[in-house]
Structures are given as structure tokens and as C-alpha cells.
């Protein structure tokens, strides 16, 4: 089905939409509509829509411009705050991942010597006054860790503390801002 066209179609629509039809528009337009099948149809449809539009405009109570502006301003501010917090959330996530990763690594490193120590039945009692180096030397199964005990273990612990604490400190410092 081909769509029939009329060059005055938009003139007819404008006349109705702008309220000039039927009393305040050009007489030639009336004469044209009387003869043109397309424009007659346009008048029927547009008149129905014009009535509907007028009634809807009359009935509706839209919020005031100030209210819409205010709500938009508040929402923009909230979104800006959320956007600013996003990198900090990432940082927090990364630091949590670091802690978990390091914990797993430390457990993995210590697990087999501890198991061996436990299976040999030595060193089941913990003496708090002992340093880590002394403890390791007392436990036959933990002798593999000896090189790590004096300096290496402290470096490892220091690095762990830095990796864990630095992002956390940064997060808490910046989250206040």
C-alpha cells in the first residue's frame, strides 16, 4: 500500500494544533480540505488528538520547575558523591584482596612445617616470651624457616603490614573528605 501524499498536509495539521482551525484560518485551506481526501482524514485524526491534548493539559498538574530543578540538583550531588567514592571502594577491594592473598601465602608457607612439627609431637605448648626465632629453632620441623626468622620474617611481616595498613589508612583518611 503506497502512502498518498498531500503538500498541504502540514498546513492543515498546524492550523488545527495551533487552534486556528476552523474559524481563524485561510479560506483556501478550507476549500482544499473539502476536496482532498488525505487532508479530510488528517482533520479527523488531528481534531481527536487536539481534544485529547487539551484535556490532558487541563487535567495534569506537573510539579513546579523549581521542584524539578531542586530534585535534579540533589540527585546530581548524590551521584557526584558516589562517583568520588568509587575509586576508594576499588582501593578497599584491592586491599582486602591483598590481605586474603597474603594470608593464604603465609598459611601455605607455614602449613607443612607446622604439620610436621605437630606430627613429631614436639612444641605443642606455646611460650609467649619466646621470640619467633627461638620458637622455630626449638621446633625441629620448623628449622626450614630458620633463614627467614631473624630478618626475613620481620621484613615479610613489615611488608604485609604496609600492604594491609597503607590502603586502609588511605581509605579512612580520604573517606572523610
Amino acid at each position: 500500500m503506497t502512502a498518498p501524499d498531500c503538500p498541504r498536509e502540514q498546513d492543515v495539521i498546524n492550523a488545527i494544533v495551533l487552534g486556528r482551525w476552523p474559524h481563524h484560518c485561510d479560506q483556501t485551506l478550507h476549500a482544499h480540505v473539502a476536496e482532498c481526501r488525505v487532508c479530510k482524514e488528517i482533520v479527523d485524526v488531528t481534531s481527536v488528538f487536539r481534544l485529547e491534548r487539551e484535556e490532558l493539559h487541563r487535567e495534569v498538574s506537573v510539579p513546579s520547575a523549581g521542584q524539578v530543578w531542586w530534585r535534579a540538583a540533589i540527585r546530581a550531588k548524590v551521584e557526584a558523591s558516589e562517583q568520588a567514592a568509587r575509586p576508594l571502594s576499588w582501593l578497599f577491594g584491592v586491599s582486602v584482596a591483598c590481605v586474603v592473598g597474603l594470608s593464604i601465602a603465609v598459611v601455605e608457607l607455614l602449613w607443612s612445617p607446622i604439620q610436621r612439627a605437630l606430627s613429631s609431637g614436639v612444641g605443642l605448648t606455646w611460650v609467649p616470651s619466646f621470640g619467633l626465632g627461638e620458637l622455630v629453632r626449638l621446633l625441629p620441623g620448623l628449622t626450614e624457616l630458620a633463614p627467614l626468622t631473624s630478618t626475613g620474617a620481620f621484613v615479610l611481616l613489615g611488608a604485609t603490614a604496609c600492604l594491609v595498613l597503607a590502603p586502609l589508612a588511605l581509605y579512612f583518611a580520604l573517606s572523610d573528605e
Binding site: A3, V17, L51, A65, G66, A76, A85
Partner: protein, 193 residues
């Protein structure tokens, strides 16, 4: 992610920041809003068939409009852009709703007409139009409303709906014929009501 909340002081600050955040001044926005709010609401109400949803989408449309960084050549371009945002919001909403859910919602709103409105002839015509529009496709509703209620040109409709101007004439013609058919059916006493 936690939801950010604002203190009262920040709320007042937000009001002051708004003109820096948005590309429009509050005064310009007020003028634009007064011209466009009712037509946009009517468009949303008619194409969704749900006045309450139209209220929500109106606020969202203006928010997105205010956040845009687009340059506008004229007031018409600005208005068409707003209608385009509104159209896209309705599309997104329809996508989120399932077909069955949508059908139920529309059927519910079809009966959502006050009893006193059923009395006058004007009200009957409006009800007929509302029912006919509900049976049409969402794109047809938008096409018809923009063309015959808003008086938009084919270029403007193509811009708002993201359609090719070449295909618009045929689409509009088919939609108009279908609407007239549905309106005639509801005019006949034996027709489907």
C-alpha cells in the same frame, strides 16, 4: 556499593552547585520547563497509558536533559531532544517489563477513568481514543502523538524517534489508517468495545 546520602548543609550546597553541574541556568530551565512540561507529560501519559508512570518519567527526562552535554542549535532542537529522551525512557521501561506484565498494566489503566467522564460526548471520544491507542504498537502511538497532537514535522519526528525520514511517511500513514479503523469500530454499536 553503599548509597550516598547528603546532609542538610550538602543539600543547600547542591542547590548552589547545580548551575555549575548543568549547562543551563535555573532561570533558563524554568522558562524551558514552563513551555515543555505539559506537552511532555501528555506525550508520556498517552504513549505509556499510565499517568503515574508519566509523572516519574517526566522527572527522569528533565534530569537526563539537564545532565546532557549536547549543544542545541535552536529551541526546537532542545525540545526535540527532550522528547527523544522521554521516548527512550519509555522504551527502556517497556523492555524492563515483560510482555504479560505490560499487557496487565495496560488493561488495568484502560478502566482507570472516573465515572463522571463517561457522561459527555467529549469523554466518550477520549475514551475511544485511549482504547484505540492501547491497541496500537508503542512506536505507532509515538508517531501519531508527535504528528497530530504536537504537530511535529516529519524531520522532527524522525529526530525524536530515531527513524529514517524516508520511511516515516509510510509508517505514519499505516498508523493513521489503523487508528481510524479502530476508532470507527468503537463508533459502531456492534463494534468491539
Amino acid at each position: 556499593m553503599h548509597e550516598a546520602t547528603l546532609t542538610d548543609v550538602e543539600r543547600i550546597g547542591a542547590f548552589g552547585d547545580a548551575e555549575r553541574t548543568f549547562l543551563m541556568t535555573e532561570e533558563a530551565f524554568r522558562a524551558f520547563y514552563e513551555l515543555t512540561a505539559r506537552p511532555v507529560w501528555a506525550y508520556l501519559a498517552r504513549i505509556t497509558g499510565d499517568p503515574r508512570l508519566a509523572d516519574d518519567l517526566l522527572q527522569e527526562s528533565y534530569y537526563r536533559f539537564l545532565r546532557t552535554r549536547a549543544d542545541f542549535e535552536s529551541d526546537d532542537h532542545r525540545r526535540n531532544y527532550l522528547f527523544r529522551i522521554a521516548t527512550n525512557l519509555v522504551r527502556d521501561h517497556r523492555r524492563r517489563l515483560g510482555h504479560a506484565e505490560r499487557h496487565l498494566a495496560e488493561a488495568a489503566h484502560a478502566e482507570d477513568v472516573p465515572a463522571d467522564e463517561r457522561v459527555s460526548d467529549r469523554a466518550v471520544r477520549r475514551l475511544d481514543l485511549a482504547r484505540a491507542m492501547e491497541q496500537m504498537k508503542p512506536r505507532e502511538r509515538s508517531l501519531l502523538w508527535l504528528a497530530y497532537a504536537q504537530g511535529c514535522s516529519h524531520e522532527e519526528i524522525a529526530e525524536v524517534l530515531g527513524l529514517r525520514k524516508a520511511s516515516l511517511k509510510a509508517l505514519l500513514f499505516r498508523a493513521r489508517k489503523r487508528l481510524l479503523g479502530l476508532l470507527c469500530t468503537s463508533d459502531h454499536p456492534g463494534g468491539r468495545r
